[in-house]
C-alpha cells in the first residue's frame, strides 16, 4: 500500500510543477526586444570613458594632462601627451588615447582626475569587425572647439593676473597708508 501512496504523491507533485509552468504560459513576456526597444540604463553605468564638458572651459573638456589617470590605470589603457599653449599656466592634452579592449571599467581614473573631467559614454553595445575600433581618441569630439577654449583660458588667465595685480597694488597702498598713519 505504501508504494501506491508514494506513487500518488509523486504524481501529484509532478502535476503541481506542471501547474507552475502553465501559469507562466499566460504571463506577459519580460523580453526587451533589444534593437527596437532599449531597457532604461542606470545613470552611473560604466562604459568607455570620455572627456566631459566643464563650465570653466565652455564647449570643451578641462583636462590639464596631469597624467594621474594614466598612472593609476591598472591595465595601462590610457596614453596622453600634453603640450603647453604659450601664455597659459595650465597644460592641455595633445593626444588622449584609450585602448578600450584593455579597460576593466574600474572607475579609478574618474576618482583620481583633479578636474573631474572624465565621465562614461552612454554607448553600451559596441561591437566591431576589427580591433582598430577600440582605440578611442577622446579628443576627437572637441577638435574644433579647441582653439576657442585655449583663447578663453588665455583670456581668463589674463583677467586673473590683472586681478592679482590689482589686489597686490591695493595691499601695497593699504600697507603704505598704515605705515603713513603709524608714523
Amino acid at each position: 500500500m505504501g508504494r501506491i501512496k508514494e506513487i500518488a504523491k509523486g504524481a501529484r507533485s509532478l502535476i503541481g510543477s506542471m501547474g507552475v509552468t502553465l501559469k507562466h504560459l499566460k504571463d506577459e513576456p519580460v523580453t526587451v526586444e533589444y534593437p527596437a526597444e532599449r531597457a532604461p540604463i542606470s545613470p552611473l553605468q560604466r562604459n568607455a570613458i570620455r572627456l566631459i564638458e566643464k563650465e570653466e572651459t565652455p564647449g570643451s573638456h578641462n583636462c590639464i594632462a596631469c597624467l594621474q589617470c594614466e598612472k593609476i590605470c591598472p591595465s595601462n589603457c590610457i596614453s596622453i601627451t600634453g603640450y603647453r599653449p604659450e601664455g597659459l599656466a595650465m597644460k592641455r592634452p595633445e593626444t588622449f588615447d584609450l585602448n578600450f579592449a584593455l579597460c576593466s571599467e574600474c572607475g579609478l581614473c574618474l576618482d583620481v582626475c583633479p578636474t573631474a573631467t572624465l565621465g562614461y559614454t552612454k554607448v553600451y553595445d559596441k561591437a566591431g569587425y576589427t580591433r582598430a575600433d577600440f582605440f578611442h581618441d577622446l579628443l576627437e569630439e572637441y577638435r574644433e572647439t579647441e582653439e576657442q577654449v585655449v583663447e578663453h583660458l588665455r583670456e581668463a588667465d589674463r583677467r586673473k593676473k590683472a586681478e592679482r595685480e590689482a589686489k597686490r597694488k591695493a595691499e601695497a597702498e593699504a600697507k603704505a597708508k598704515e605705515a603713513g598713519d603709524a608714523q
Binding site: T21, L25, D27, P29, V30, T31
Partner: protein, 326 residues
C-alpha cells in the same frame, strides 16, 4: 463501414503507393518544421520570453532557415568512425517513419491502407527506430555516443512493454486489431473514458519511446554532450532532428487513434478533429519537456519495470474481467 483505401481511389497500386508517399512526406516535412517552431514558441512562452520573432511574421520562417543552414553545412565524417554504421544510422532512424505514418487512419472516408492487423504492424515498426539510434551511437566510436546508444536500447526495451500492454487493453475492449474499426467503435464514448489508466501509461511510455524529456537520457545534453548524435553534423544531424519530431507526431496520433476517438467529434469535419487532438497531445509532450528535470538512467528502468508494467498488467486483468461480465 469500410473506408476507401488509396488502391480503390487510384486504381492501380503503383500510383496509390506514389500518392501515399508524397502525401505523407509532404505532411511530415511541413509538420516537422511547424512543430520545431511550435516547440520553441511554447518553450519561450512558458519561460516568459519571446522565442523566434525576427524571422518572418511570428518567426515562422525560423525552421526553414534552420533547415536551409543545416543543408548548407559541411558533412564531417570523422576518421575514427566506423563508416558503414555511421552513414547508415540517420537513414535507419528515419526509415520506419514512412511505414508508421501510412498505417494511421486519419479520416472517416479514406485511409492509406486498411489492414486487419494494423496495430501489430505499427508497434513492430516503432521498435525499428532503436536500431538506427544504436548504430549511430556504436558507429561514431565516441565514448559519449556509445553510452547514449546503450542507454537508448535498454530504454526502448523497458518502455515497449507498457506501451504494448496499454494498447492491448484497448484491443481487448474493442475486440479488434484494425485501427479504423477501433476508431469507428469509439463512436459515442472515447476509450479514454473507459481506460484512463491505460491512456496515462500509453502517453508516458510513448514519450519515453520518442526519447523526449523527461526520458531523454540517450541524448542527455548535460551529461553526454550530444548522446548518440554527438559526431553528426549538417543534414545528418538534421535527419535525427527530423526523425525525432516525426516520431513524436506518430506517437501522438497513435494515442489519439487508440484513446481519444480519432475523428469523432461534434460540428467540425472528422479530419480536423483528428489534428486538433494530435496537436493537443503534442502540446502536452512539450509541456513535459519544459517542466521536468531528467530522470536518472537506473530510476528510468526501475520506473518502467516496477511501476508501469505491473499497473498495465493489473489494468489488463481488470479489463478482461469486466469485458467478460458485460
Amino acid at each position: 463501414m469500410t473506408p476507401r483505401t488509396f488502391n480503390d481511389i487510384f486504381g492501380n497500386p503503383y500510383l496509390a503507393v506514389l500518392a501515399a508517399t508524397t502525401v505523407i512526406m509532404g505532411y511530415l516535412t511541413v509538420n516537422a518544421l511547424m512543430i520545431i517552431w511550435m516547440e520553441r514558441k511554447v518553450a519561450a512562452r512558458m519561460q516568459r520570453r519571446l522565442g523566434p520573432t525576427e524571422r518572418g511574421k511570428f518567426g515562422l520562417l525560423q525552421s526553414i532557415y534552420d533547415m536551409g543552414k543545416l543543408i548548407g553545412k559541411e558533412l564531417i565524417t570523422p576518421t575514427h568512425v566506423n563508416k558503414g554504421l555511421y552513414l547508415a544510422a540517420p537513414v535507419l532512424v528515419f526509415a520506419p517513419v514512412l511505414a508508421l505514418c501510412s498505417l494511421i487512419p486519419v479520416s472517416q472516408s479514406w485511409v492509406f491502407h486498411d489492414y486487419d492487423i494494423a496495430l501489430v504492424l505499427l508497434l513492430a515498426f516503432s521498435g525499428l527506430a532503436v536500431i538506427g539510434i544504436f548504430s549511430a551511437g556504436w558507429g561514431s566510436n565516441n565514448k559519449y555516443s556509445l553510452m547514449g546508444a546503450v542507454r537508448s536500447v535498454s530504454q526502448t526495451i523497458a518502455y515497449e512493454i507498457p506501451l504494448i500492454l496499454s494498447a492491448l487493453a484497448v484491443v481487448m475492449m474493442a475486440k479488434e486489431l484494425n485501427l479504423y474499426q477501433i476508431v469507428a467503435k469509439q463512436e459515442g464514448l472515447w476509450n479514454i473514458v473507459l481506460q484512463p489508466v491505460a491512456a496515462v501509461i500509453f502517453l508516458i511510455s510513448a514519450t519515453a519511446e520518442t526519447n523526449r524529456a523527461p526520458f531523454d537520457i540517450p541524448e542527455a545534453e548535460s551529461e553526454l554532450i550530444g548522446g548518440f548524435h554527438t559526431e553528426y553534423s549538417g543534414m545528418r544531424f538534421g535527419l535525427f532532428f527530423f526523425a525525432e519530431y516525426s516520431n513524436m507526431i506518430i506517437a501522438c496520433s497513435l494515442a489519439t487513434v487508440l484513446f481519444l476517438g480519432g475523428w469523432h467529434g461534434p460540428l467540425l469535419p472528422g479530419i480536423l478533429w483528428f489534428f486538433i487532438k494530435v496537436y493537443a497531445l503534442i502540446f502536452v509532450m512539450m509541456w513535459f519537456r519544459w517542466t521536468f528535470p531528467r530522470i536518472r538512467f537506473d530510476q528510468l528502468l526501475s520506473f518502467s519495470w516496477l511501476v508501469l508494467t505491473p499497473i498495465a498488467i493489473a489494468n489488463l486483468f481488470v479489463t478482461a474481467v469486466v469485458s467478460k461480465l458485460v
